[in-house]
Amino acid sequence: MLKIVGRRLAQVAPLVLGVIVLNFSLIQLAPGSFLDVMSAEQQITDPAMLDQLRVTYGMDQPAHVQLLKYIWSVLQFDFGYSYRQNASVAEVIMAHLPATVLLMVTSIGVALFIGVAAGIVAAVKVNTIWDNLVSVFAVFFFAAPTFWLGIMLTILFSVKLGIFPVGGMREVGVTEGPIAAAFDVMRHLALPAITLGLFYAAIYARVMRASMLEVFRLDFVRTARAKGLAPTTIVLSHVLRNALLPVMTLLGLQLGTVLGGSVVVEAVFSWPGIGSLMLDSVQSRNFPVVLGVLVLSSLVVACVNVVVDLAYFKLDPRIRAR
């Protein structure tokens, strides 16, 4: 098992290098540069000032020198400086990271819970009204655009009923103790987590249902039934565990994208996450921030992969044997 972990982690270095080179080239290929955007925004029209900025941003050097310099500084765990935010990239990312991780982990949690539960119900009551209901809801939440769902939930729960706040992560202009603050964050988290969670839940429900139905047909389930086990026991300890593997794969894929955040949900609920930061950075060609987020993401993907592998072993010992 240690060998597997070691092998996975050894893949990180080339992965990160690839991420840097590929994305740096992509940003260089995109028309318009960071200097264009910054000087336009600052309405800088003085040629001398433009030259000065070009030197400040390090854009007076050829692209390959910029790339090598960037790789060298990443090797020293320095992600560079973002002149747009006037702060170091690490600082900028850390300012948005907790919000994103909180939102994504919560919504994936919501999705996993609702999706798996709905999938079990649909599989157990296959071809009944329950199964159809789950399918209808799954299709609906999967197909409904998240921004529309988000706005509808806001109008219902925030504007009409006044239960939840309209966006943000904390009540503004209020100082509160840690417990009240945690409660406050939960209140703000509810709608965005549900919006995003329902979208993911739809996928989980469909996968879970299909996987459960497949396992139901296997011989060992028939054996379990034949020896007189209670239906609940069969579903929970025999079928569920074996049906979870595809869901684990999905979960692993999704946990890998945690750092990407969700631009749309963040925009609708003005959630202070990394998605909007990425969008702004790509639009302004601010490559240190884009690369910083992507490098961190690739690290997360590598780590999650290791964890998912370990979970496979736990769920299905046959994998380890191979």
């Binding site: 029209t45 040629p47 706040p165 930061l277 302004s284």
Partner: protein, 533 residues
Amino acid sequence: MKMSRRELLASTLAAGTLASAGFGEAQAQATPKKGGTLVATWGGFEPQALFVPAGGGSSPYFTSTKVLERLLKLDNKLVFQPVLALEVTPAADFRSYTIKLRPDVKWHDGRDFTADDVVFNALEYWKPISSGGALAGLTSAEAVDKLTVKFSFKDPTPEFFLKSVLAGKAGLVIPKHVYEGSNIITNPANNALVGTGPYKVKQWVRGSHVELARNEAYWAPGLPYLDQLVIRWWRDPASRSAALEAGQLDIGVFNPIPAPDLKRLEATKRFAVTTDGYLSSAWISTIEFNSRRPVVSRPEVRQALLHAIDRDFIADTIFFGRAKPSIGFIPASNPLFSNPKAPQYPFDPKKAGKLLDAAGFPVKGGSRFKVNLVAAGWFEENVKLGQYVKQALEDVDVTVDLAIPDRATSLKRIYSDYEYDIAISNNSGAIELIPGWTNFVTTSGIVKGAAFRNANGYSNPTLDGIVSNLTTEVDEKKRAGLAHEFVRIAATDLPITGLVDIQSVTIARSDVRNHSNLADYLGESWSDVWLDR
């Protein structure tokens, strides 16, 4: 106006009032209440930094101006009012100005605001960094005493022009003791501002909001009325509407919510919508013809193509009535310098066709000629505008190749590579034409790679001469005459002109009082706004 601007300024000083014009006046009649938290937003995103010394667009301008102040401000009647300066007086030859500063003003860190600060700002910040060349003629700035500064200029300098710079986007006063000896553009203080303004930065929660707390030591007694001003950002206009309705947002400036929502919310009587407060920050949608391209370099072709475009349709349909057809390159709302008598090109596709025939471009094989149309994709309206102009030109048998690139690409195509025949872009600017508006058409305005300047390559010595006179003419009447001539020439040769003047709106809860009372309200300090709760 019978009174000169100086007399007007003096008389308002003598009265010593905070009274403001128009909309504000009616609101100000009730006795202001102290206290409360005002939550404000604007129709855009979070700024990249709270203060961007070289400008940085509307978002940092919105946040920084609550903390940093200027020497003067411009009210809705286009009269300059004192802020950190009490008087700005020209010498008889208009080659020097004496500025008397307000006494007993303290920076947020407790230091005194003095003439040295203003000298530092003029020479180290405004002239080289923020004014975009407007103060190129400033030869010296010296402190006469602790509260008096003297500016000297190479040439006679018009009073309205200088005061516009001091009251404008470029004129924020930053503390010398914080910025001296550092690179102003990258100074960490730009995100932890020290100013003289009515609010101090308490906390910036990135991605969400900035909390500004009342400056207890503010120089104006009793001000500001608010205990706290919170500027919050929503990326989605529909969410801003929801926040207004749910009572979590009090005021939104610069088109915060979708146009159809404005009518609905105004009808509830819980909200007030106003177009005041944008006199000196008018936005227009522009159409620009590249003089480097043979077909569209000819004025008669440009005139004909303008006849093919229905500006009323653009204003009513694309902007939901929140825009007016332009009467030229300078917005009609500019009472001093716009010129309603300049040539107009009303919608008349038949005439457009005839003019194009006469210009030597008859329809051959279904098309007269082909143009590249670039619509700068930074506003949603520009996308529709690009599509509409394509259709309108195709209706007069011009083949159009339309591109609507994203912001960075648009900037590059229009202002760096000049890679277009016709471009749709935007400009916003103050009442004063120099240098913001004139840079779009003067020869000196051609700077490759510098955005929002002359990208069309137009160069006309007559017009350059008028602009140069406009820079040094000190008689206000003669200046207005020169400006009208400037507008007339631009409207005849048409290197660039306005399609529609965008009407910016503010929406606020009815209990927010005394707002929108200055000519560029988004960028004012908001010291006198109060909550009637």
